[in-house]
Amino acid sequence: MTLAPVFLGSLGRRRMATLFSLVAIVLGVALGMAVQAIHEAALNEFGRGVRVLAGESDLRVVGPASGFDETLYEQILQHPEIAHATPIVEVEAKLAGHEQPLRVLGIDIFTLARVAPRLLPQSQDKSDRFATLAEQSLFLSQAAQQAYGVKLGDELSVQDGSRALKLRIAGDLPGLADGQRLAVMDIASAQTAFGRIGKLTRIDLIVAKSSSPESLRRSLQGSLPAGVLLEAPEAASEQSGNLSRAYRVNLSMLAAIALLTGAFLVFSAQALSVVRRRSEFAFLRALGLDRATLIRWLLAEGALVGLIGGVIGVALGYGLAWAALQLLGGDLGAGYFSGLQPQLEFKPGLTALYVMLGLLAGLAGAAVPARQAADIAPAQALKSAGDPLMIRSQRRPWAGLLALALSLAACFIPPLAGLPLGGYAAIAFLLAGSILLLPAAAHRLTQPLAERGASVAWRLAAARLVSAPGYAVVAAAGVLTSVALAVAMAIMVASFRESVDEWLGQLLPADLYLRAGRAQSSAYLGADLQAAIARTPGIKHLEFTRHDQLRLGEGRAPVALIARPLPADGSNLPLVGQPQFSTLPALWISEAMADQFGWQPGKVVALPLGGVAREFHVNGVWRDYSRQTGALMIDLAVYRKLTGDLRVNDAAITVDDPASSEQVASRLLALAAGDTLEVARPGEIRQISLRIFDRTFAVTYLLEAVAIVIGLAGVAASFASLAATRRKEFGMLRHLGVSRTQIGAMLALEGGLVASIGVLGGLLAGGGIGLILIEVVNRQSFHWSMDLHVPWGALLLFAGSLVTLAGLAAVLAGRQAMRQGAVLAVREDW
């Protein structure tokens, strides 16, 4: 321990470098921890909800969102392998004046008591013996009461179609977990109130003791109508987990990059510090300190920074997670877990893991410099300060080129377990390859400057960099990494945003959009209202759209079905690739369908419509940014013929005269009583969509900013640590008559040049990573393609400022060193 002040104390003597390393590690750990903690909380909450709702059930019968025929319940009740079955009508009830729909379960208390007793309602009025069966009575969970600002005894206005209906809040759901927004009502009332007579959306089953879920699946699955299937109650939890997993992993990868940068900063700070302390180590070695102990102490320096960074990082991470949960919700605004209020929990294992990651980053950064310090021969080191940095920069480009080739190859690896692991590998290889190629590139780029430089400062700076010394490579690599990260994110987000914007334009060609509520909610436009809309004066063209959700297979998340008038060639869709035609009814699938189900144009597939499997021909693939689990589009007339369902969800209206569109809008709104109808203009929808988009990417914007700060910190740290070791050089130059200003200019140019090389490399690597993000990572994670849009202006501005700032950082770092007298500096060597 007597050596602790010598080694660990050195961290305090180079405060700035230590601080930057620490900050990078803190940020990396904090981001990773926050992402993980938030998702853990959201998934836990979601899972808890699913468990309460599932109760004791082993299996559930599920079907399209619009429900299946209730006579199936009769069949299920008679099945000998089923001990208990409880029928459920689930409705996303549109509440007048609220955007967020309320999840209402129509339940049969008698059978539910056996299957999921915690869902049972509790009546406020204890003397009314049938209160839980009463018509138009709603039982609202605590969280839902809070969310909608109502209390027991109040009335809640819900919508069936465009009709407002008053339901009395007759009690609560005491068995539900905190934070679950849910309402329960008697199944008969729910069927009546929401126009679901004869329909069920779910039957939860307990398998007889004499049987097993597998056996029941085998005997029951065959006899279920098309589009109705059996799934385990956990399936909803798994599907939601899978859905958000890619998003979570992608965010964790960004955090990992921040952590990597932290390790890199530890490396650069340690490397330079080791050089400065050469004589110190030589003395220690001469005094009998063995090699292994020296390495251990130097590793301990890195480990200490990593440990402190890790501890502060997890604390900050929990803070960030808490703030994000308050502000954005459990999915960081991405919309995976709406209606949940997740509670942050302290996870000892996870926390320890992230502290460990911080520690590892510190250790990894310290490893190479420690080895190098230990390799120094004491006698030689005592005599001469030598090369400021011992790193042998590799000018052989083979390793770099190999890494780039591997990166390209990794792009073709298909997703593993729904995760774009190949894409991540490709990014890692591309980054590694770029850094390995940096010395050669630096040599090539600075050679001409050194030969043809106009001023002394130019030639000096360039000459110094031609040999691509270790310190310059380290600083440039730091810049390259952070620029690459920032550029890649910027290109990806810009491409995404532009593509979404164009896509919205293509999907929303009409002047006005009329709806009664969200697509999957209890709101719809009935036949009478459709006729009334069509009769409204001032309308040139009118198109209706119907939405449903279909189940296409066990273990598959529900898929959206959209029925709207479609031209034979699909020309009003944002198509990707060439369509194919046939005489069968046309089906247009989203990219997610193509990716997840392997459907391609030309394939004939069966869709369960109205409980019957119907053949469709896949005509083409269209781009869809809103439904990650997949969407199907068919013609409305075909849908109506096959299902007999005449309801629709939205009307797209083109007006005769654009100037009168507001009058038409008010006429349309007046068609239904109360404020049950909503009119939206494409501009508003676009604005809202892009706002949601920006919110979703808020985290990535933050990361971009972090990357830039880290990059600058890298340059500043490198030059700051370096300046001291170059006092001798500055002294010599002053001795030779080079002015203080000229040395300043030289340093600025050196900094600028190093940064330029890093920025250039970063731009190239970032462009490549951006492409990988767009074509591989996004495509495999979220199943959507996008067009490349490079934000040239922003990138140039960013690159320019970074180079300037780097130059400035170099000057500031050098000024310290220049303050010493020239003679003193030269003499120091003797």
């Binding site: 209730e70 319940y73 009769e74 009740l77 029928p87 049969d108 208390i109 008698f110 059978t111 008591a113 007793p117 915690r118 049972l120 309602p121 509790q122 009546s123 204890k126 009314d128 013996r129 049938f130 209160a131 839980t132 069966l133 009463a134 018509e135 759901l173 005491p174 068995g175 008697d186 199944i187 008969a188 009332s189 069927q191 009546t192 007579i197 004869g198």
Partner: protein, 358 residues
């Protein structure tokens, strides 16, 4: 917890309590309406509440006795009668069943509840037939057949009638208070010859025995101030049968009482309140609920005096987790002048502190 509270409220819905403000008109129970069979064996869905209550003594293969009980309630809720939904809860079926096993020293018990829908639960007009899932009580000609499946017990019993129905009260018009509004239609089927099988913890065995079936329906049964009741139905060994009940007020005193006695070769005798007297002989305190039940009685009917003693003391039916009530429903032996006369069932309701049903 909420499950219990929910069913507490429901249990009150057996229709035994006064003062429910439903928007429908329940059929009234009127004096002078004669019971007509076989129509009146069937259900009467226009009335608020109705039950079929079978109890009896069974003899196992080795001669040891068992008691059994099965009750089906039909309740008209007044809710959703005009609903288009097949799930409309306008009629509910509730059931509970038990086996009194002296070897076990307590009851084996099970219960069911369901709305009348999808054939899962229901009743039949014109003959006694009620069911919930695989629990069933059905009349076929002169036989009643019942099947029950509980957690640790099950039984399938055939009950053969040996005599015409015993009409309680005034030709089946049974008053429960001096005000004739509080009345029910009520007949009993005593001296049913039982054969079938009982399964305890999965082990089935053949049994024989004697049973008693009550069928009663009403729209407004209990008068104000009724705290509970004591009821007994006894098959005497000479082929006679005795039914007696009394309603107690909150201080435990007789509010109303009645009895029917069928003696072989005589016209059925109906007794007025002042000719019926229940007096407790011995009390037993439940270790689970702390409730004191008078489990042994002296019962005076006219000039006859019977002594009632339980098959075993702990025949408390704790159904707080389901139907929300605790009462005593058990097999009893009957003697007169220390001479064993027969076997039957005793029901003691309303001895708990917060019991809503009676």
């Amino acid at each position: 917890m909420q499950r219990r509270q929910f069913l507490m409220a429901l249990a009150a819905g057996y229709g035994l309590l006064p003062g429910s403000a439903a928007a429908v008109d329940f059929a009234p129970v009127l004096a002078g309406r004669r019971l007509v069979f076989p129509d009146d064996f069937g259900a009467h869905p226009n009335f608020r509440t109705e039950w079929w209550y079978a109890t009896g003594w069974l003899k196992r293969q080795d001669g040891r006795p068992l008691g059994f009980q099965i009750t089906f309630f039909r309740v008209r809720t007044g809710i959703g009668e005009n609903s288009a939904s097949r799930f409309a809860p306008s009629q509910l079926m509730l059931a509970h069943a038990a086996i009194a096993d002296p070897q076990l020293g307590r009851l084996r018990h099970g219960e069911r509840a369901a709305r009348v829908s999808f054939g899962h639960a229901g009743f039949t007009l014109g003959r006694s037939e009620v069911w919930i899932g695989d629990w069933r009580l059905a009349q076929q000609g002169d036989r009643y057949q019942t099947s029950v499946r509980g957690e640790d017990f099950a039984y399938d019993l055939a009950m053969q009638t040996t005599a015409p129905p015993l009409l309680n009260g005034l030709d089946g018009f049974s008053t429960k208070a001096s005000d004739p509004r509080h009345a029910s239609y009520y007949y009993s089927r005593p001296q049913l010859a039982v054969s079938g099988s009982v399964s305890l913890d999965g082990r089935a065995e053949a049994v024989t025995g004697q049973a008693w079936l009550d069928h009663e329906w009403s729209s407004e049964l209990l008068p104000e101030g009724a705290q509970g009741w004591d009821w007994v139905g006894i098959n005497l060994r000479d082929g006679s049968a005795l039914m007696a009940f009394r309603l107690r007020d909150t201080s435990g005193n007789k509010q109303w009482a009645a009895a029917s006695l069928r003696s072989t070769g005589k016209i059925d005798q109906i007794y007025k309140p002042d000719a019926v007297d229940f007096s407790p002989l011995r009390r037993w305190r439940s270790p689970r609920t702390g409730i004191d039940y008078p489990v042994a009685w002296r019962l005076k009917i006219g000039d006859r005096e019977f002594e009632l003693n339980p098959l075993f003391d702990d025949q408390e039916l704790d159904s707080r987790r389901s139907v929300g009530t605790v009462y005593w429903e058990g097999a009893i032996g009957v003697s007169e002048n220390a001479k064993p006369l027969g076997e039957g069932y005793l029901e003691l309701a309303g001895y708990g502190e917060k019991i809503k049903v009676g």
